[in-house]
């Protein structure tokens, strides 16, 4: 599997107090642990088990993820912004890897 690549969509600008929509997508097979290979052996679970979004270090939204989330997990949620700053996004893999990205927003 190629290294999972996150994509995020955050508006570039917003007015103070505006609630903006954030969309995130990451490439990941989300192997559920329920499937079997051609020899009948269970394919071990390997999923992204959590997702977190913070704004200048303050929690905005997070999610505990089960194997029932589809491959290439998509999360869309809202955030209220009062001032310019940076959103940080983190996805945690079962194998301990952490995939992260950031997006700045200008509030004026």
């Amino acid at each position: 599997m190629a290294t999972p690549k996150p994509r995020v969509k955050v508006p570039k600008t917003a007015s103070p107090g505006e609630v903006v929509t954030i969309k995130t997508l990451i490439s990941h097979e989300m192997e559920s642990g329920q499937r079997r290979d051609q020899d009948g052996n269970t394919i071990p679970r390997r999923i992204i088990n959590s997702f977190t979004c913070t704004f200048d270090g303050v929690p905005v939204f997070s999610c505990d993820i089960e194997p029932a989330i589809s491959a290439n997990p998509y999360f869309e949620f809202a955030a209220k912004v009062e001032k310019s700053g940076t959103f940080a996004f983190e996805w945690v893999d079962d194998d301990g890897s952490v995939y992260s990205t950031e997006a700045a927003i200008e509030v004026k």
Binding site: A2, K5, K9, L25, S27, M30, R35, Q38, A71, N72
Partner: protein, 287 residues
């Protein structure tokens, strides 16, 4: 689920859907595909002369509201992850010549714009039509001195998706006047109407005669190829055209021709022609 079981389930579905239960017809959904609210796509167009239908319709119209919405938003479309990966592949140096695709073709958004809309194309040196996969492999061997991709290598799918995506919204149109393209078209047409397998189905059975009906829960489209490689919800992955050809043929319980075999290249020429004028939708989203 293992392959054997999937195959059986598919066979079961075909048998029950087409034979035991009377198929119900429903019209393709009346809707307009606009990508990101900006790019309006041609998803219905007057058929070329000699086509069995009056109007050529994209498979997009046969999908549910939710699936259609996924394709209309390039952010929500999971196929865009593979387009992004394809761009990385485009810029990666491979092979003895120390080149990437970009070394010669530079910016794909300029150099590849429209290219994918005109494949398959006659290749005089090979004496047969080339699709993008064959063209890329030829380029890898002759110019990059790299190994050709094996069929459905994830990088092959990503790169083809990326190249085809540069023609998003442009009309699919192949040149049948070059070389022996007309003969390949004829051969593809024969293949299209050839009943095969234990279920005795031709491509035309589902996609022409029963087009608009349901095969179990699948709304049968015209089988146009303007969205390939396409993101399929079932596989949650990109599916190449020859993978889909082989899947369909397996479901008829016939022996599957190899990917890029003359049989399937001829079929690709013919079905691409059947969708003449439809916008390239790659990466489309289907069930």
């Amino acid at each position: 689920m293992n392959n054997a079981k999937t195959g059986l389930a598919a066979t079961l579905a075909l048998a029950v859907g087409l034979a035991a239960v009377g198929p119900a017809h429903s019209d393709p959904v009346d809707d307009t595909l606009v990508i990101d609210g900006e790019l309006e796509m041609v998803t219905r167009v007057k058929a070329p002369e000699g086509h069995p239908f009056d109007e050529v319709i994209s498979g997009w119209h046969y999908r549910t509201d939710e699936t259609r919405a996924l394709e209309a938003d390039t952010f929500q479309n999971p196929g865009m992850l593979y387009t992004q990966r394809g761009e990385e592949v485009w810029n990666t140096v491979e092979g003895e010549a120390g080149k990437s695709c970009a070394s010669c073709h530079e910016d794909a958004s300029a150099s590849m714009k429209g290219v994918g809309a005109h494949y398959p194309k006659w290749n005089a040196a090979a004496g047969k039509p080339f699709n993008l996969e064959l063209q890329i492999n030829d380029c890898r061997v002759s110019n990059m001195q790299a190994e050709p991709y094996k069929f459905d290598d994830p990088d092959q799918k990503a790169l083809v998706t990326f190249v085809k995506h540069q023609s998003l919204g442009m009309p699919m149109q192949i040149d049948l006047s070059e070389g022996e393209m007309q003969q390949w078209w004829e051969r593809g047409k024969e293949r299209y109407y050839l009943r095969m397998g234990q279920l005795n189905l031709a491509c035309a059975t589902c996609h022409e005669n029963y087009n608009g009906n349901y095969i179990r829960a699948d709304h049968l489209s015209q089988g146009n190829v303007n969205g390939f490689p396409t993101y399929r919800l079932k596989q949650a992955n990109m599916v190449s055209l020859h993978n889909r050809f082989r899947g369909c043929i397996r479901d008829t319980r016939a022996e599957q021709p190899k990917a890029f075999s003359d049989d399937l290249m001829a079929l690709e020429v013919y079905v691409t022609w059947r969708g003449t004028g439809l916008s390239i939708e790659t990466p489309a989203v289907r069930q």
